[in-house]
Symmetry: C2
Subunit: 382 residues, 2 copies
DNA sequence: TTGTAAGCGTTATCAT
DNA sequence: ATGATAACGCTTACAA
């Protein structure tokens, strides 16, 4: 019998039945109930049925706290992100959520606002509760931080950033390939003065994209001029400022590549306010293909990749590690990008009469966008 | 002494120190360590210092699982939302996250995709882990669901929806007041044919906004015609469709009020494609003031309210209950709205010459937008 | 002011 | 195939 007061006269008692209640109801030991619930192969079919029935009857649900305490697993993973209201982050979260849900894991969301203290506090709180793993989006731990947290044993995967301190798995996108495809496409359209709006100064991904821009500019023999490069910080606002800066410098470009969509869209806004027509006077290409970019009012040509896949891949990588995969060193998955041509790109004014279709709506794989001759190559291999 | 193998010769052992290790290191009992950590008033200052020091030295952190098991509290709350990639949801989450963080509570995020089965599965999983409370965004439990989950005792607060089954606290916005202010503003501008795009058919908030529209139309003696009302579902797509439907019906309106921004923006897209100029040919007002709406390319006049405040209020209400407030019945907080006049509204063509400033950028409290005579009144009181 | 000991609800290791 | 029993790491009476 249960030690509780709820006997059969009061079956709807307020507090939850424990495994002992189930065991008592079945006339078996708690261990057997546990074995049934864990699908152990050696329980007699008859007992299994009985237990299952009583479990349903009593509405028994195992206490996660007790399970965690006993097994050391919490069936939850921590997701540490910088800014949940950034539209592309939401999609990543969705991808993560989906695969975790499939494995009945919980997602514990931590929003740091890119504050290092909060990141540390959150992480150690997650460690307190024995999360089975950690996913960091656009964040990383320094050697020092990793040491302070004593981040041993708990699997970590980073998104859009490497973490040298741990040798953790990571998933990212081929940012450089995307930028190359964008520059190449503009070059083929006839543009010679292609400006670049850089991402946040502290961001590794921003560096990579900038390097890719400079390489592509050289490769396509297009004008390379430091006056065409302006620093942004990934925010929409900084895109507007960048454009004004560009024009203030004199020699305006005929095309602009921004390191992300938010800045490209900010640029679009500034251009509109300045009375510069897109794409007639200037072409604009972004990076990310956020929700907003496909809107009829925006129709931004941009580098596309699946945010949801990023999240899903991160979660899958993590689950593999959690499930015991100690395989060869850190794994890294890099997702492909593709250029989506929408309404903000066209040949520059000079060559325009000779060339049609400024509003093409095709989506093209990065390389194909520029080089019809070799349809099977990808930007990431160029 | 600790029963573990890590004595002072191997202080950096891999597995985490327990309270016993700390107690041993201090030469006190585990209870004392616990008391120190719980800030019990009666511990000797000297002991407190010693314990604190050793705790820091060993890097001891209490196991949440053990604490939960013992105390029944988990220091985490579940947040059940329909669609995390909806831009306005992200801001609500941010508000929730902020107040939970302040109280060092965890946020467990559950994305149901508005699927009832997933909602139920997630909820019972949250219950398994003894979450201290639940926040439901734009969702609710039926009597039956509530019974199936045995949702007793765990505090719940709903956002943008009531839950009659529980008599839970709720936070919402004065949607009706916002819609009234929108209609009133348009009427004062001189519009007579004001269309309305309804929200999702199953949504209580959509009903409320529609009712407010009909009342306002009557109050302002503007044309009331069922041909001016079209069903949407809160999606951008449905806003586009609604506009085409409206025009297909013949007598086009001179103004459109949409039950949310996404639909209003969809409408803007369709109007652009149809060559109908906004605001010259038709005015458009949305509801929500999402991030997108303030963009230079969009500049949507809309009903504003603080999404972050909604989240913060929900979290605060919940924390009060968790902390033991059993006060008088369900509490409800209703946040104010205000009309933000941007670029998508102007007087209708007929009266336009007589009236200026179609691009006013002022933000106005709802009522003031329409009635300069009584600047202190609010839409919610009209 | 501090220590002892019971117990929270599981699961794992033995026996049987 | 099933049952005792001992942890897991903490908090909290209660005793000292």
């Amino acid at each position: 019998m249960s030690k509780r007061t709820n006997d059969s006269d009061a079956p709807e008692s307020a507090d939850r039945p424990t495994i002992l209640d189930v065991a008592a109801a079945c006339g078996v030991s708690p261990a057997t109930v546990s074995n049934v619930l864990a699908n152990k192969p050696y329980v007699r079919e008859q007992t299994r049925q009985l237990v299952l029935q009583k479990v349903a009857e009593l509405g028994y649900r195992a206490s996660r706290a007790a399970q965690s305490l006993r097994t050391g697993r919490s069936w939850s993973v921590g997701l540490i992100i910088g800014d949940i209201s950034n539209p592309y982050v939401a999609e990543i979260v969705q991808g993560v959520e989906e695969v975790l849900w499939a494995k009945r894991n919980n997602l514990i969301l931590c929003n740091t606002g890119f504050d290092a203290d909060r990141k540390m506090a959150y992480t150690s709180s997650l460690l307190d509760q024995h999360v089975d793993g950690l996913i960091l989006v656009s964040q990383s731990f320094s050697e020092e931080e990793a040491r302070a947290l004593n981040l041993v044993d708990v699997p970590v995967v980073t998104v859009n950033r490497a973490c040298e301190a741990l040798k953790s798995d990571q998933v990212g996108i081929d940012g450089a390939g995307g930028i190359r495809a964008a520059v190449q496409y503009l070059a083929q359209l006839g543009h010679r003065r292609i400006a670049f709006v850089k991402g946040a100064a502290s961001s590794p991904s921003a560096d990579g994209r900038y390097v890719a821009y400079t390489q592509a500019v050289r490769a396509h023999k297009v004008v390379s001029d430091s006056a065409l490069v302006v620093q942004g910080d990934y925010s929409m606002e900084s895109g507007s400022i960048a454009v004004r800066e560009l024009w203030a410098r004199g020699a305006a470009p005929t095309a602009i590549v921004a390191a992300n969509d938010l800045m490209a869209i900010g640029a679009l806004g500034a251009l509109k306010e300045m009375g510069v027509d897109v794409p007639r006077d200037v072409s604009v290409i972004g990076f990310d293909d956020i929700f907003l970019s496909n809107h009829p009012l925006v129709r931004l040509t941009t580098v596309h990749y699946s945010k949801r896949d990023i999240g899903a891949n991160a979660a899958r990588l993590l689950m593999r590690r959690i499930e015991g995969d100690r395989g060869d060193g850190p794994r890294a998955v890099t997702l492909d990008t593709s250029l989506v041509v929408r309404g903000t790109t066209a040949p520059p004014r000079a060559v325009r009469p000779a060339n049609g279709a400024p509003m093409a709506k095709t989506r093209v794989k990065s390389m194909r966008a520029a080089s019809k001759a070799r349809p099977s190559r990808r930007a990431s291999q160029s």
